[in-house]
Symmetry: C2
Subunit: 296 residues, 2 copies
């Protein structure tokens, strides 16, 4: 098994200085647009375009207007970085095989850049109209919000918090399988946090809804942006009060309690392992690895 102890999940190494002060300041933004070092991330619709272990960039053309680009921030060398809006993006397509391929090539910070750019571009493409009045919206604040030309309402990019939790009972952890998963894959259970819920409340509700399991002692572990389209994964552990399962087959194809040996075999990629583990890019992989490390 390779040593992955220093790895962090994908999308967690944002390298940008986001320069919030530039977004609302027309002069500062114009200076960034005119900067001869300014660059633009290239995307193929929502997919990444790689150049070795980096995302491909091109020079920002001198006639690029601010309103058709998002100002992502400054890179480590101070160069302003933009990404072009694309109003013609196809909708949907939450999962993109080309992202998984690119993720094996890109450095962590480059993959994080991609997450920010993708979420923003996708959000712009799906928010050309005002949810309040139906009027057309236009990008403002260097692409960090959109304003309705009719009623003036300002709309900000969504970030949708999701709980993902590894639940333990008597030395085993609960894993589930969604129908859309690759063959053999099982992972931690997950679900969107609803209005009026705490993180801890959402963990308890989801585990009861999807698996019939009641839990206590919910603990936060780490968080991860997941840009499909704009989730914030909030990874937790929990302790189940019992091991009887009542699986909601609308949500899960199957669920079971995995032993430490099951988890070790899956993380090692052994032939005959009881399940295929989520990849290191996914925070669920790290929840499993941390749990296994504590089993001695």
């Amino acid at each position: 098994m390779p040593d992955l102890s220093d790895l962090v999940p994908g999308f967690c190494e944002d390298p940008l200085d986001r320069c919030d002060d530039v977004r609302g300041d027309a002069d500062k933004l114009a200076a960034c647009l005119a900067d001869r070092h300014a660059q633009r991330l290239m995307l193929d619709e929502l997919d990444p375009v790689t150049d070795g272990d980096r995302l491909a960039r091109d020079d920002l053309t001198v006639d690029a207007g601010g309103s058709d680009h998002v100002f992502l921030g400054r890179e480590a060398d101070g160069a302003p970085l933009f990404v072009a809006l694309n109003p013609d993006l196809p909708h949907g397509g939450a999962y993109a095989p080309r992202v998984w391929e690119a993720a094996t090539l890109l450095t962590g910070p480059e993959l994080s850049l991609y997450a920010t750019a993708r979420s923003l571009i996708d959000w712009h493409a799906r928010h050309g109209f005002c949810s309040s009045c139906g009027g057309a919206t236009q990008p403002v604040r260097a692409g960090w919000s959109r304003r309705c030309v009719g009623c003036g309402a300002e709309h900000f990019p969504r970030v949708d918090p999701v709980v993902i939790m590894l639940t333990e009972h008597d030395g085993r952890v609960l894993l589930g399988r969604q129908p859309r998963f690759p063959a053999g894959r099982y992972s931690a259970l997950a679900g969107f946090i609803e209005p009026g819920e705490t993180v801890e409340g959402a963990v308890a509700r989801e585990l009861f809804e999807e698996a019939g399991v009641r839990v206590v002692d919910v603990r936060y572990v780490q968080s991860q942006p997941w840009p499909f389209p704009s989730s914030l994964m909030i990874a937790c552990t929990a302790t189940a009060l019992g091991d009887e399962l009542r699986v909601d087959t609308q949500e899960l194809e199957d669920a079971f309690w995995a032993s430490a040996d099951d988890v070790r075999a899956a993380l090692d990629g052994e032939d005959g392992a009881r399940f295929v583990a989520p990849p290191p890019m996914a925070v669920a992989h790290h929840l499993l690895r941390h749990w296994l490390a504590r089993q001695g």
Copy 2:
């Protein structure tokens, strides 16, 4: 000083079984609507209507259609609980003095019910149109989403994650004051998590943007729904690398490092305290209380 050690922040005691299985099942929903014990929360626009320490309820009229109500879930006694949509709500109004007044009357679970109902009603009122195509939307899934009658896109209620963080340096904590705060009030710094950020990254960015402070060792403490209109407060602690401040006066009127004595005097409501503490309803109050308890 009253003993508040067992208090939790406001809005954190959701008493509902949200019954996700009812939302997508027309027969189950019809049965809940027809249930003679079904009740409806009363709101005055977005403000709560109290009945002693509870929210006021009325019987669901037999002719109430499912499409103009949100099914909130079942109460502890099994009774289905709804709240009526109100498409004529005025927009805006993030802070409502009547909520603070009601919060002193309501039990914790009732205050939590209010948070869920308010966020949902407000979201519906501001999402009558499809952000993708500008078409009209209609409530579906018992009021837990809206679907565009034009393009068919489904839109889900927003939950906006916000970091709020108490930052320590050499036995003191950083507090800031927003211009809209009541006289003398200081609190923990806070800001919205952006696309492509982790919780920990957002904490570090916000503290540098607003106060010029670099931090390490960001730790999650607890979370809280904050229904103005639909935030999820993610409360953290962090350790500052230095105490020099560079306050962003666009965001903060003032900021300073408070000692344990300053915090104790403020939480005790002493005359002459250096600042007015946030109320127990706010998670910042609990961050301060937990920090003070660790100072010995």
